[in-house]
Each structure stands twice: as C-alpha cells, then as structure tokens.
C-alpha cells in the first residue's frame, strides 16, 4: 500500500514516493499512464495546482481500490500553498482554452478508482463526457466539483459519464459532489439492467443540468436539483431490472423534475417539488412527497443581510425542507458533511446550519526550523508549530516520524500528555490553545538523539487542518561551554600571548602574579607622619598574599626623620582595634626615614580594613609613633 505524490513542481521521472519536489511526480496523468506503479490499495495525493491535462487511462486496471486524493489544504506537502486541485482543459489562469472536445480523463474497462476533493474543470462540448469511463466498475467520486464552460455545451453529452461492462453492475458512487455544468447532462450513469447494481448518487447539488440514468438500477438520496432546463432526473430504458429510486430530494425551477420510463420502473418518496413546469413524467406520485410550498432554500439572503449565513441552496431556518425526509437509505450527513439540523434528513442535499464559526483553513508554518541538541541527550522535549488547535495524540491521521542522517525514517508513536507532565517517549501535548495557539510539545525518543549522526529531522503531519511541521535537530555539543570558553581564553592569554603590551602580559604581570604567588611586591613608599597625622595614601592590597610595603617616616612638615640605629616596627590593628600582627621594618635609606616591612597572610587572609602604626625607638624611653597607615585587604 504505497503512497504517491503529485505536485506542480515535481517531475514525472521521479519515483513519486515522497511529497518533496525531488520525489513527487508532476502530472495528474502519471498515475494513470502505461507502466504506472500504482496498484490496488495505493494512495495518490495531488497537491494544489492547475493540471492542464487530457488523460487517457492506459495503466492496468487496479484489482482493488486506489484513492486519488486532491489535497487542497496542502497538508501532505511542504512548500505548496493551499488552493484548488484542478484538472482542467483551460490554461492555468483560466483565461483561454487549451483543449476542447476531448475528455479531461477517460478510460475503458478501468475499475476501482476513487477520486476525492478534485475540481474537474472542463471545456467539453464534443462527444462523450468530460470525465468519461466506459465498461468500468467501482468508480467513486467524493467531494468533487464538476464544472463545464463549453460554448457548445448544449449537447446530449454529460460532464460525468460512467458506463458499466456488459453483464456487469457498475456499482458507482457519487457522494457529496456539486455540478455546475452547462451541458444538458451533469451526470450520466449507464448500466446493463442488473438489479443488484448498487450505484448511488447522494448529497449532491446539480445546477442547470440533469442526471441521466440509463438502463441502470440506482438510488438517488438527498440531492438538490436547481434550474435544470430539461429534467432534474431523466430515466432512460428503465425496467424491472433497471429500477430507479429517488428519495429525500429537492427539485426547484426545473423543466421536468423527474422523468421516468414508466411508473413501474421507478419510485420517488419524500421529495419536494417547487416551481417546476412538470413535476413528474412517467414517475409515480407519492403521498410522502410535497408539491406545494416554496423552494425552501437560502439563495443568499442570510449573507446579504448580516444573519448567520448558511451555505447557498441550503434549507433556511424553518424551511419546509428541514427534517422533511426519511432516514431510510439517507446519508448521515449533508453535502458539506454537516449533521442534519432536524430529527430526520432534509429534502435536498444541504441542511440548515450556520457558517458563523466555520473557520477557513489557515496553513501552519511550513518553515523548516533547526535547533541544536547535544548528541546523547536524553528525555528531551521540543516545541513545534502545527498551526491548528485541539490536536491530540489520538487525532485522526496525526503521526510523527524522525530520520537520522542517511537512515530510514522511524515512527514516533504519540502518547497523550499534558503540558506539565514528565517526559515520555512520543509524549504530545498542546502548550496553550488560547495564548500560544498551534504550538505543541513533542517528547523525542532518546534513540533519535543518540550520538553517531549529524542531525535528525522530525516530521509531525497528517491531521486535518494542519500542514504539519518539520524540524531538524543538529546533534552537536555546540563547542565549549561558557565556563570552558572563559577558562580557555584565560589560559591561552597567559600561555601564548605575553609579549609586552598584550593582554596576556598584563594579566600575568598585574593580576596573576600578585594573587597566586607569594613573591613580594613593593608598594609605596607611604609617608607615615608623626604626631598622628596619618599617612599620604591608604594601602590597598590583595587578600591572601604577602606584600612588601615601603614607608617613609616624616615630621609634620613632610621632612624625613632619621631612623639610623633606631628600631622601627609596624603594628597592624583590625577594625576592632585589636593588634593582629607586628612586623619589623628594615631601613632602606635611614637618614631620610625610609624603611620596608612585609605584611603577610596573618593579616591578608582575612579581608577587611586595618590600620598600621609605625613606632621608631631609639632608646628605652624614646619612642615616636607615625601614621596610622590605613590598609584595605580585599579581593581585587
């Protein structure tokens, strides 16, 4: 069950197994060409774009269902804007016809194709149908739109024409489709008078053209026919084995609403007729149908006048169509997949409901972002922008995968979490639907971040309403930490950048050595004055080291005092006036009062404010005190 992708900027030489430009096909017809790898069970996603192609299906008919799915929201693609998925016979701008009188897509004896969400946009006025399959079976058209703008369209040809093979039922399904063709026939289903044929048309809107049922047993449920110039429904070659059942349908302003072969080959119940020239031709009447009253549809009043708008041609509030039908055989939802507004289905294809609050699809960010996580990290959570609120681990279609460099992708089974819960592999939680709408937490499996790969790419996608998100995690420690960087700069500066004038030299000379070495540093001289007049400057020294201090004993006029033969001592007191240590001073130029002493860690191990007084003793009673010298010990 492979999945293929088609996008306008793809290439038909690609494998088609991937949604990127480098992998996807470019044409709608590639999947239907001879040798196509698409087989039963496969899915083909078609990206938004105008595919100007006339396709003849030559591929081998699949033995089981193949889904050809238009993806107008581009949720399956990256780098593609949402828009119509249009198979067209017009140029991309729709301003000139590229081809006419040939089908958009045709095939003979081709079964099991299901087309979804595709706009078939024809310019078909020639023979056969714009979408034309003959002798085929099990063809389905779901949520497709058919238009035809041929100026020669008033022919007997149909926009969608399906025929079954001789002796075989068609078993066709047309579900939730709209037809806006100017052909005489919007739909033509031709069979082989097989009573067991399950062909069904339901929840469809037909504007301007008829639905033809020729020699086929078929059912029509909950369809709306508006302004069909000839018939709403025309039965041809009806019989007991080509029996037509019409139920819950609405016919407004048609030429003839229902035209049968004879009253024994068809039936109609729970239908409403309004404004038709003829309601029934060779169709039996029914007591459950209604031929009085108005059409009961909103053709724009609510939107024009500021009421809660309903879809055009929908039953308006209190419409006679509302809850008019029977549930027997009826689809559970209407054309736009809305639940019926009443207890029973409406007559027609579109029920009454307010479009207020029906939000337009806003694509999520498709930007591929990159973050960095250290390889081998565990229990990592990341945040992704998915562009839609309300997604959960169990949202239909939502899936997550990762792939590491040059390795196959790996599924990440999603696990429901709340935003504050602890990490668990695959944990998925909405961050804040109100204040950070569209942002989700995803807990990465540890294996995704294991060492050994350059990067890992994570994709979350597949749910309705989001384009998904792609995020690449670079597996790197990111180089040195901040602390490592600071240390490296420090070491490098000191070791290799120490020439004069450099930062390293300054670091070594001015910062490192005084702090980390016990080598003496001469500081001063500080003039310490007699008579308690203080000192010339305070002393500011690094804690934890010993320092050499130069002093000069001066009188109160600043003249040096001779200390020859004198004993000079420095006494250091802390801020509490307690003597911490006493140092002997050595005269360096005694006649001028100059001396030096070394203050050691007895003092400098404890940062604080100290004072030192210098005593000059020349005899038993001849002591003179200088200073005090204020000392600040701190971590400079």
């Amino acid at each position: 069950m492979a999945t293929y992708y088609v996008r306008p900027d793809g290439n038909d030489t690609n494998t088609g197994i991937g949604s990127t430009t480098a992998l996807a096909w470019a044409t709608f017809g590639k999947a239907f060409a001879t040798g196509s790898p698409v087989v039963g069970g496969d899915t083909v996603y078609i990206a938004p774009g105008a595919y100007v192609e006339s396709i003849t299906v030559t591929a081998t008919s699949p033995s089981s269902e193949v889904n050809i799915i238009g993806n107008p929201t581009a949720s399956q693609f990256i780098g593609v804007s949402p828009g119509f998925v249009r198979l067209t016979s017009w140029n991309a701008a729709g301003t000139s016809v590229t081809f006419s009188s040939v089908p958009l897509i045709t095939g003979a004896s081709k079964n099991n194709y299901t087309f979804q969400n595709i706009h078939f946009d024809g310019n078909h006025g020639g023979s056969n149908g714009a979408v034309y399959f003959t002798t085929s079976r099990y063809l389905k058209f779901i949520r497709c739109v058919f238009t035809n703008y041929s100026s020669t369209g008033f022919s007997t040809q149909s926009t969608l024409w399906l025929t079954s093979a001789s002796g075989t039922a068609g078993d066709f399904l047309i579900d939730r489709c709209t037809f806006g063709a100017n052909n005489a026939g919007n739909v033509n289903l031709s069979g082989n008078s097989i009573l067991a044929d399950t062909s069904t048309v339901k929840d469809c809107l037909f504007i301007g053209g008829r639905a033809i049922f020729s020699a086929i047993t078929a059912s029509v449920f909950n369809c709306t026919f508006v302004a069909a110039s000839q018939q709403g429904i025309l039965q041809l070659s009806g019989s007991a084995n080509a029996y037509l059942t019409v139920r819950n349908s609405l016919f407004v302003n048609c030429g003839t609403a229902l035209s049968g072969t004879s009253t024994s080959t068809c039936e109609q119940t729970y239908c409403r007729f309004a404004g038709n020239s003829t309601n029934l031709t060779n169709f039996p009447t029914s007591v459950t149908s209604q031929t009085t009253g108005n059409g009961g549809v909103d053709v724009g009043y609510t939107y024009l006048n500021g009421l809660n708008p309903t879809p055009i041609f929908a039953s308006y509030a209190s419409s006679p169509n509302t809850s008019f039908g029977t549930s027997t055989g009826a689809p559970t939802v209407d054309l736009f997949s809305a639940a019926w507004s009443g207890a029973s289905p409406d007559a027609g294809g579109i029920t009454n409901y307010s479009m207020t609050g029906v939000s337009a699809y806003l694509p999520g960010s498709q930007t591929i972002t990159t973050i960095t996580i250290a390889p081998g990290s565990t229990s990592q959570s990341i945040e992704l922008y998915l562009g839609a609120t309300g997604l959960t681990a169990s949202t239909s279609g939502l899936s997550a995968r990762y792939n590491r460099t040059r390795t196959a992708s790996v599924s990440i089974p999603l696990v429901a979490r709340t935003i504050a819960q602890a990490w668990t592999s695959g944990g998925f939680a909405e961050v804040d639907a109100t204040n950070m709408p569209g942002v989700y937490r995803l807990d990465l499996p540890d294996a995704a971040l294991a060492a050994g790969a350059d990067d890992v790419t994570i994709v979350v996608r597949g749910a309705s309403g989001t384009n998904g998100a792609v995020l690449t995690v670079t597996l790197s420690s990111g180089g040195l930490t901040a602390a490592q960087t600071a240390a490296a700069v420090w070491d490098e500066a000191r070791a290799s950048h120490t020439t004069a004038g450099t930062f390293g030299q300054y670091v070594n000379a001015e910062l490192v050595t005084p702090v980390t070495s016990a080598a003496l540093v001469r500081m001063g001289p500080f003039e310490v004055r007699a008579d308690g007049l203080g000192a010339s400057d305070p002393l500011d020294i690094q804690k934890g080291a010993q320092h050499g201090i130069d002093i000069q004993c001066v009188d109160n006029n600043g003249a040096g005092i001779d200390i020859t033969s004198a004993t000079v001592t420095a006494k250091v007191y802390n801020s509490g006036a307690t003597l911490v240590d006493t140092y002997s001073c050595t005269a360096t130029y005694a006649a001028d009062g100059r001396a030096t002493f070394t203050i050691d860690t007895t003092v400098t191990n404890t940062p604080g404010t100290y004072t030192a007084t210098i005593t000059r003793t020349t005899g038993a009673s001849d002591t003179q005190i200088f200073g005090p010298l204020r000392i600040y010990v701190r971590d400079i």
Partner: protein, 75 residues
C-alpha cells in the same frame, strides 16, 4: 402538473410529424386531460399557437441550431 403514460412517436415518413401521447394529471393523480387516443400532432399543434409563444420557442431553437451549424451537424 404531472404527465403519466407519456410517450412520443415519430410519424412514418414521408411525414416529418411527431405524435405526443399521455395523460395530464394533477399532483393527486387525477386526470386533468389527455393528448387524445391517437395522440397530438406536433405540427398541427404548432401552427395553432399564437405568434408570441412561437417566437419564444423559436428563440430557444435558434441557440441549438447555431450550435449544430457550428459543429457541422447541420447547415
């Protein structure tokens, strides 16, 4: 208005006429009228209609005729 037992028959050549058969009924199945046991001749009926009605029908024919002429199916 409903038409039951409705059919049209082409009159054998060299006539170019068509005959219309059927019952004209109301929505309750009551027969309001018929096209006659031998059907109603289109050609005879046509010339009995007033010119305004004929003009409106001819204008509808004209579009079909133009398309047939352009497609080569008629001249």
């Amino acid at each position: 208005m409903n038409l039951q037992n409705f059919r049209i028959e082409k009159v054998a050549p060299p006539s170019t006429d068509w005959l219309v058969f059927g019952d004209i009924e109301d929505d309750n199945g009551n027969v309001l009228g018929t096209f006659g046991v031998d059907g109603t001749s289109v050609n005879i009926w046509w010339v009995q209609q007033d010119e305004t009605f004929q003009a409106s029908i001819v204008q509808q024919f004209a579009v079909v005729m133009a398309n047939q002429i352009m497609s080569g199916d008629a001249e």
